[in-house]
């Protein structure tokens, strides 16, 4: 499929759809062949050969709604992509898709897409031609500009595959190494611990093999790592013999809502909890601690249940019960997620949970080595909030003259205390490769309109691979909607050509580059197929399996750590900027389906809210629907309260995602952004933003605003809509049947 955009062809294809017909009919009743430059009237009764009127055809591609990289099948009818479905061939999602994946089509067809290149002229952004925009970029960044080296930077979200290779090449051609990868929902701290203790950042976590999962704030069904992949494994985990899921966290996540036992702990005390479990395990079987350094043994012995119960606020019987489960059933799996990572001692907390895995013998059992990906240039460039802080620091030092943005929206996700907006203002030249006019894009000097993921080519090597590692293939599912948008890979090639980088001038476009790259793949991957067959097969399948030597033994390297008791009580609350499956970090706030899909826990739509425990609410004298003011040292936000028993009394949770100042009609001016009032505390070891550690004061405003929720009544009122049976019964009736 050629990547040349031809509006007429596009409209011709569109004409087959009922709605498209109107659009084309009003707009352009004739078609023009550009070659001949003359108009011809072509009947719509003669469709393009790949269009069979009335029949949906499925093309494989890769979902770009979050970094998990699920395979999708796009249903294409009359040249329009209508619906995304999971690609059963993808080992990541096995034919399943989450709500964000489902709404990929609304990102694609979003009415607020940027359709023209724009250049800042006299304060505002003005639409210009690509040539003009590119010549401006060339003047500022090309060889003629005289700029070179570390004055350039890229700020992106997770990027991998051949786009990452080209991006690296671009940076190299500029002589810079500044690639800031910013994801506010990230696993950076865990990755650091994994790297230090297991020797690899993202081992495969075999949820399906585990009989007990003890998760410290890891919302693996919602927003953690690879949610659909995890959900598929979770289904297996819940089959007989049914695994037990214990979730320990201060605010109930979607995973917590599905736990057999949900334990509320004081924010930041997950590490203590983990050590106390280790302590309890050691009490029943002292051999558990064999081989641990004395220092760690002492640390574990220091946290008996009474002490831990006092620090964490969790009842002692929970520790006993959890330890008993872990003793009875193996293998188990201990996970740590955002609430464990998001404190100044986040690294230590995660290390404590990993230590528990070591004690339980899970390494190599449920924590499997992902092996070594044979193409390091394609692997995911992951990042977290440290890159954001580093970026801000670099801006502070006036070290950057030119910044390229792609994907990430740091102006939205950065806390106000960072004053990123003010700092960016001082940067001489900013280029945004963007689909939407988000906060960061609006600060750019040049805005280049990008293809949507459903119009673009790409390859993706996700950070969290399934057992069988793979390269996920992204191919266009339809002709681009707009004449003026371009693919990200194409744009990178253009930039490289601009830098006169050697070796890229032969590639007409990114597609040609990819074809070439695929031809160059080693024979063991191609399995003897000809280049054309290999390409066609890969496109049809949507994924490319890569042998990484997964399942190799993992050598454990225990790291030392220390945990604060974290017991200071000053009447303030911890602010938890919770992540929700749906709006994610705010990038999906412009998707109407996701705005209207109720939050899984609070059932709120189109809005922000603040979750609060009934005892906290009682203290403040507020009830669900009342508005409260949440004040940190750096600012304040107002939101309606949702009172429920799924949050620790010391915590107030406000979900991320809303509070956009600009991001299209569906996102703008809706709700609040809790990230804005975060304090700039960082994790002691990794330097990541400790985003769960901000202390806030909460006050009642006396206002009660209507809260748009779906759920009428929060309990079943004694009706038997859902009945719960115990696992014993389940094992009796369905176990091993």
């Amino acid at each position: 499929m050629s990547n040349k955009v031809n509006r007429r062809d596009f409209l011709k294809i569109m004409g087959w759809g009922g709605v498209g017909a109107t659009l084309a009919g009003c707009d352009l009743p004739t078609t023009v062949t550009l070659e001949e430059g003359k108009e011809q009237i072509t009947s719509y009764l003669v469709p393009e050969e790949f269009v069979i009127p009335g029949v949906g055809v499925y093309y494989a591609s890769t979902c770009q709604q979050c970094p998990a990289g699920c395979g999708v099948h796009g249903r294409v009818r009359e040249g329009r992509v209508l619906k995304l479905e999971g690609n059963p061939e993808s080992a990541i999602n096995k034919g399943k898709l989450c709500q964000m994946g489902q709404s990929g089509v609304q990102t694609h067809y979003n009415p607020d897409r940027i359709t023209r290149p724009m250049v800042r002229k006299g304060g505002g952004l003005t639409a210009v031609s690509w040539d003009e925009a590119l010549s401006l970029i060339e003047g500022k960044t090309g060889p003629a500009s005289g700029l070179k080296g570390e004055r350039f930077a890229w700020v992106t979200d997770t990027v991998s595959g051949h786009q990452a290779t080209l991006l690296d090449a671009h940076l190299e051609s500029l002589g810079s190494s500044n690639h800031f990868v910013h994801e506010i929902i990230n696993n950076s701290v865990s990755q650091a611990v994994n790297q230090d203790m297991l020797g690899e950042p993202a081992p495969h976590l075999a949820l399906d093999k585990a009989r007990v999962i003890l998760s410290f704030g890891a919302d693996f069904l919602g927003t953690w790592q690879s949610p659909v992949h995890n959900s598929v494994m979770y289904a297996e985990f819940r089959n007989a013999p049914r695994g037990v899921l214990i979730q320990v966290e201060p605010k109930m996540t979607l995973t917590g809502a599905n736990a057999d036992l949900w334990v509320a702990v004081r924010p930041g005390t997950e590490g203590v909890f983990a050590l106390a479990i280790a302590n309890a395990l050691a009490t029943s079987d002292p051999a558990r601690l064999d081989g641990l350094p004395d220092r760690l043994q002492q640390l574990i012995r220091g946290y008996n249940i009474e002490k831990a119960s006092k620090i964490t606020g969790a009842s002692g019987e929970h520790f006993v019960k959890i330890a008993a489960w872990l003793n009875e059933r193996s293998p188990s799996l201990v996970l740590a997620g955002a609430s464990a990572e998001g404190h100044e001692h986040g690294y230590d907390t995660v290390a404590a949970t990993m230590l528990l895995n070591v004690i339980l013998g899970n390494i190599g059992e449920t924590i499997e080595s992902s092996g070594v990906f044979p193409f390091p240039q394609l692997t995911a460039r992951t990042g977290g909030s440290k890159d954001l802080l580093d970026f801000a620091k670099a801006l502070d030092g006036q070290q950057l003259d030119v910044v390229f943005f792609r994907g990430a929206n740091p102006v939205f996700t950065a806390p106000d205390a960072l004053d990123l907006k003010g700092k960016l203002d001082k940067v001489g030249f900013k280029v945004a490769f963007s689909m939407f006019e988000d906060e960061t894009t609006l600060m750019a000097d040049v805005v280049l309109p990008m293809h949507s993921p459903l119009e673009d080519w790409g390859t993706h090597v996700v950070a969290h691979q399934p057992r069988q590692s793979l390269i996920a293939i992204q191919q266009p599912l339809m002709q681009p909607l707009y004449e003026q948008t371009r693919g990200f890979g194409d744009s990178l090639l253009t930039m490289l050509k601009m830098q006169k980088a050697a070796g890229y001038s032969d590639y007409q476009d990114y597609y040609a580059y990819l074809r070439d790259a695929f031809s160059a793949l080693p024979d063991n991957i191609k399995a003897g197929a000809s280049d054309i067959d290999f390409w066609a097969n890969t496109m049809q399948k949507g994924t490319l399996d890569v042998d990484t030597g997964a399942g190799a033994t993992i050598a454990v390297n225990l790291v030392d750590f220390d945990l604060p008791d974290n017991a200071k009580q000053d009447g303030s609350y911890y602010l938890i900027p919770s992540a929700r499956l749906g709006l994610w970090d705010g990038r999906h706030a412009n998707i109407p389906w996701l705005q209207e899909a109720p939050d899984q826990i609070s059932k709120v739509v189109w809005d922000s809210w603040a979750e609060m425990h009934p005892s906290t609410a009682g203290k403040l004298g507020v009830k669900t629907g009342d508005t409260i003011k949440i004040t940190s040292t750096t600012g304040s936000i107002e939101a309606n309260v949702y009172v429920f028993k799924g949050i620790h009394p010391d915590a107030i949770a406000v979900p991320m995602g809303q509070g956009h100042e600009s991001y299209g009609r569906y996102a703008e001016g809706r709700g609040v952004n809790p990230l804005k009032i975060l304090a700039l505390n960082t994790d002691r070891k990794t330097g990541e933003l400790a985003h769960h550690s901000t202390r806030v004061q909460v006050s009642k405003t006396g206002v009660t605003l209507p809260m748009v929720r779906f759920q009428g009544h929060d309990t079943q009122l004694g009706r038997k809509l859902i009945a719960t049976v115990t696992a014993d019964v389940f094992e009796r009736t369905e176990g091993d049947a």
Binding site: G712, Q716, L717, G718, R719, L721
Partner: protein, 470 residues
Amino acid sequence: MTKDINEDIKWAKINEDVLRSMENPRKGYWMAIAGCLLLLSFAIGAEIYQYNVGMGPSNLNWPHMWDLYIATFIFWIGMSHSGTLLSAILHIIHADWRKPIYRFAEAMTTFTLMTAGLFPIIHIGRLWNMYWVLPYFSDRGIWPNFRSPLVWDAFAIATYLTSSALFLFMGSIPDLAICRDTATGWRKKLYTVLSLGWRGDDRQWRHFRKAYLIMACFLIPLAVSVHSIVSSDFAVSIMPGWHVTTFPPYFVAGALYSGCAAIITLFIMLRYFFRFEDYMTIPILEKTAKLTFAIAMVWTYLNIIEFSSIWYGHDPISKELLLAKFYGPYAPYFWAMIFLGSVLPFTLAVEKLRRNIPVMMVVSLFLNLGMWLERWMIVTPTLSMAYSPAAHDVMWPSWVQWFIVFGSFGWFGLLFLIFVKIIPSVSMYEVKEMIFHRRHMAKKDIAEVMHRRTTDKKTPATESPGLEGA
């Protein structure tokens, strides 16, 4: 005991009084017309808006698919019951005190039905397809769903409206002839047509009385069935609070109740504006009030039955709903309904109060408000909290609904105002009949005499009071 009517009224005076009420509308009349038109125009505006935009602006929602439109529909249907039904029943049992008041009551029936009939049309989402509920022959061979109570409604209301209008018209023929005899100009032509050549001869009277009696006998079961059928809109469903076996009698009782109250209201208004003190006398008012009181007690009793059968019953969800009516968000309206429907009517039991015209005016209006609340409390709380807890919701109607509800009063008022100027609102011939009988047969058992007169063909109708006045 005071007499129901002054037996010494000259028949000429009756004609004069009644015909006067039909002539020379005063300023007040035009102001009333203007007021009704104003209300109606608001409603028409709201309806046009709703027609163009959809049912959304009315605040109807999921799960509140029905609200004031249906409640007000039942209210008007209910009000329609007293006129014709009471007139027919009282006619059959020869309660002659009905005679001065039945005409406007029957008119009320017809017009309330004409008002009520608008509501199902207003309330449906695609009113331009309203006729699909009727069984007409079509090429598509599609019939309405005869299992649906809404189709029964359509039949019942259409039948009732036709028969009530016929009953009203039939009963007016002798009076229309009187009008014809005195009218001039276009009115003369109108009444000539309307009076169907009534000359008041013996044969005509005989046929007239027979036909009238047959109509009355036909109308009684019909009227009872109409409101039973309306009640089946609810009783046939499986929703708690709707699926109630006592609903048919409960609805009929409620209907008679609101109708009687409306009769009292109109009675007082006509008496005041048209100086009908001689005909619409306090004793008749008292009788109506007593009747209303009796029906109110029946209604209260049926309420108690409904509540207690739910309370002692086996359905926790109905019980929950009942408690929600007592304590829930709609509780103020529920208790207002109980107060207005069951407590307030005790004023009617007090002789001093029920002889007091202003008091009766206020009470009758409040009784009808109570009955309107009753309909609302039947429709809305059930929708607000039924089986699915996720669908529990409280909804308050928007201005669109209120405009249309108030507009319906304008519409009814307008019809009634036109009526009083076209058809005599007091039956002249029957008042004469009444006076005649009272005067000459006061000592006899009137019922017996009347019975003989209507059944015994051989007894010549020597005394034909209708002729005398005409």
